[in-house]
């Protein structure tokens, strides 16, 4: 789990609010979805298609694809490569093997 060196409120930075499954999450404007989740106490973003094992962001640079989530209805979005937007709906992804869907 990760914490901020200084919370966005304390540094006058713009804040955005989005939805993750049933939760409402607050993040710093400019955060990736993965960073926003990891700093909000959310550590699991998908499960594997083979054994249903829980997975979380691993590389944060777009190579491991462990951070795949569903964003506003689109599956297979790399949470570490997408910036949060106000009102975004993010969902955990169960399974899903293909990149073209």
């Amino acid at each position: 789990m990760f914490k901020r060196l200084s919370p966005p409120e304390a540094t006058n930075e713009a804040v955005v609010t989005f939805h993750f499954d049933e939760q409402t999450v607050t993040a710093r404007l400019g955060d990736t979805v993965a960073a926003a989740l990891l700093t909000s106490g959310i550590s699991i973003c998908r499960s594997t298609p083979v054994s249903n094992a829980p997975r979380a962001p691993y590389c944060m640079m777009g190579v491991c694809f462990e951070c795949l989530v569903e964003v506003d209805g689109n599956p297979n979005v790399q949470a570490c490569q997408v910036e949060v937007r106000d009102g975004m709906h993010v969902h955990t992804q169960q399974g899903a093997r293909r990149l073209t869907s």
Binding site: M1, F2, K3, R4, L5, S6, P8, T11, E13, R28, G30, D31, T32, A35, A36, L38, T39, S43, I44, T48, V50, S51, A53, P54, R55, A56, P57, Y58, C59, M60, M61, G62, V63, C64, F65, E66, L68, N74, N76, V77, Q78, C80, Q81, E83, A96, R97, R98, L99, T100, S101
Partner: protein, 462 residues
């Protein structure tokens, strides 16, 4: 389809230097990066980082400011937040920006897509809570985020020590550094000291990092010979053995950051099927490049860590060389002129990279850290173990494309980025053949996620 003179992919030091060099010779390049801001890995989020105390990330980080300023020249068509999902041998490039796909074409392309961290397949490495050191650093630079509870760092290499000192300066508690550098390595590296001394400033920086950690009293456990991560559904503890001691030792922690060096990210050069070779010193694949850093495909060059690990400074120098190469290819410079201008760059490059043999030998990960044991996952996506790959070898599989069709290993969403090098090495080891002979996955586009809807839109407009 619009054809541009020069398209540069990547805005790390290599891509940014290539862009400004090309501009000097009258070429106005298109520069693409999937990141929302320029900087690549080393200078990531330099303009927006919430970490304002410059001491924490260090002067090397902030030295990227001038390169980023150069990229902002209005004549450069810089397109951030744009992913390249396709590249053909005819130099057609598939772009995706804001849900909109587009195809463009280029007379000349410089790929400056950098490196990735070498996978470190230890038992438990897929547990949430186990991440890479690079990911820790990305969270620090771009979000000012650090581990909440005392963190364990494990593995080897300069980046691991750099992250430890950055954490230290930021006040992050480090439970331990578990150093997997084999003990005899220091002696083996010594014979490369004369080369390393040609780049004394880098060498001294490394020594400085170690001293900073020692002075602060960070627990630095050397000669770690075995490592595992455990927990139910989430990391709870890290266990390790030290050389010469048969007992497991334990630390409770929710965060383990792994690292054992970086390797070229060859996904794109593989996708266009450039000729690649196995670099035995760096234990990694790299595209074969000529003196202008061109691949064997006409009009496609590679600069920076994507063509073999050289480090950030040398990556920028290679960017300059590739920029000159582009000017030569696009008839903006004669061969004599570009050769003359390249000479001082080549000299500086040779001096800077003289330290590589020393670093490559010192931090060469031992076999046990590269080849997962029978019960450990090699392929994270499709959950294929080292043992399954070895069994496939026994049944006669010689290369990764065969094991792929039998086990799906390498067919998951990461398309083999995370398991490719491991499977090549596992099969080479099991079959007693060279990695070169064993080969690598054949890749198919797209190499980044794209939906059929986005593709259809591109086709209609293209």
């Amino acid at each position: 389809m619009i054809t541009h003179d020069l398209v540069i992919l990547g805005t790390g030091p290599a891509g940014m230097a290539a862009a400004t060099t090309a501009l000097e010779y009258g070429i106005t390049p298109v520069v693409i990066d999937e990141q929302p801001a320029a900087g690549g890995q080393i200078y990531r989020a330099l303009e927006s980082t919430p970490v304002r105390d410059r001491r924490i990330l260090g002067e090397d980080y902030w030295s990227g400011e001038s390169l980023i300023k150069g990229l902002k020249d209005p004549q450069i068509d810089y397109r951030p937040a744009t992913t390249v999902w396709q590249l053909t041998r005819q130099r057609e490039i598939g772009l995706l920006h804001d849900d909109k796909a587009e195809m463009i074409c280029a007379r000349h392309i410089i790929l400056a897509t950098g490196a990735m961290e070498r996978p470190m397949p230890i038992p438990g490495w897929t547990l949430p809570g186990v991440m890479t050191a690079g990911s820790g650093q990305i969270l620090l630079k771009s979000a000012g985020a650090v581990p909440q509870a005392p963190v364990v760092l494990a593995g080897c290499g300069p980046l691991l020590l750099l992250l430890a000192t950055q954490y230290l300066r930021a006040g992050v508690e480090i439970a331990a550094i578990l150093d997997t550098t084999p003990r005899n390595r220091y002696r083996a590296a010594l014979k490369h000291t004369p080369g390393a001394l040609r780049n004394a400033s880098t060498l001294l920086k490394g020594v400085g990092l170690l001293r900073e950690l020692r002075r602060a009293g960070v627990r630095h456990i050397k000669g770690v010979s075995a490592l595992r991560a455990e927990g139910s559904g989430q990391l709870e503890r890290v266990l390790w053995k030290q050389q010469g001691d048969d007992n497991w030792q334990t630390l409770e922690t929710p965060t383990l950051l792994l690292h054992q060096g970086v390797i070229p990210n060859t996904q794109i050069t593989r996708a266009v099927d450039c000729h690649h070779e196995w670099d035995e010193q760096q234990l990694s694949w790299r595209p074969r490049l000529d003196e202008w850093l061109s691949t064997d495909i006409p009009g496609i060059a590679v600069a920076g860590d994507g063509g073999g690990i050289v480090g950030a400074k040398a990556a920028a120098m290679q960017g300059q060389l590739a920029g000159l190469g582009a000017a030569l290819a696009l008839d903006k410079l004669t061969l004599a002129n570009s050769t003359e201008r390249a000479q001082p760059i080549r000299k500086a490059l040779a001096r800077d990279t003289a330290i590589r043999p020393f670093l490559d030998v010192l931090y060469r990960p031992a076999k046990q850290w590269r080849l997962p044991d029978d019960d450990t996952l090699a392929c994270r996506c499709e959950e294929v173990t080292g043992g399954e790959i070895r069994r496939m070898a026994e049944m006669g599989c010689r290369g990764p494309n065969q094991t792929k069709s039998f086990t799906r290993c390498g067919m998951g969403p990461c398309q083999g980025r995370m398991c490719g090098i491991t499977v090549s090495e596992l099969l080479a080891d099991a079959n007693q053949q060279s990695v070169e002979e064993t080969g690598y996955y054949r890749l198919r586009p797209p190499f980044k996620p794209i939906t059929l809807g986005q593709l259809a839109k591109a086709a209609e407009e293209g």
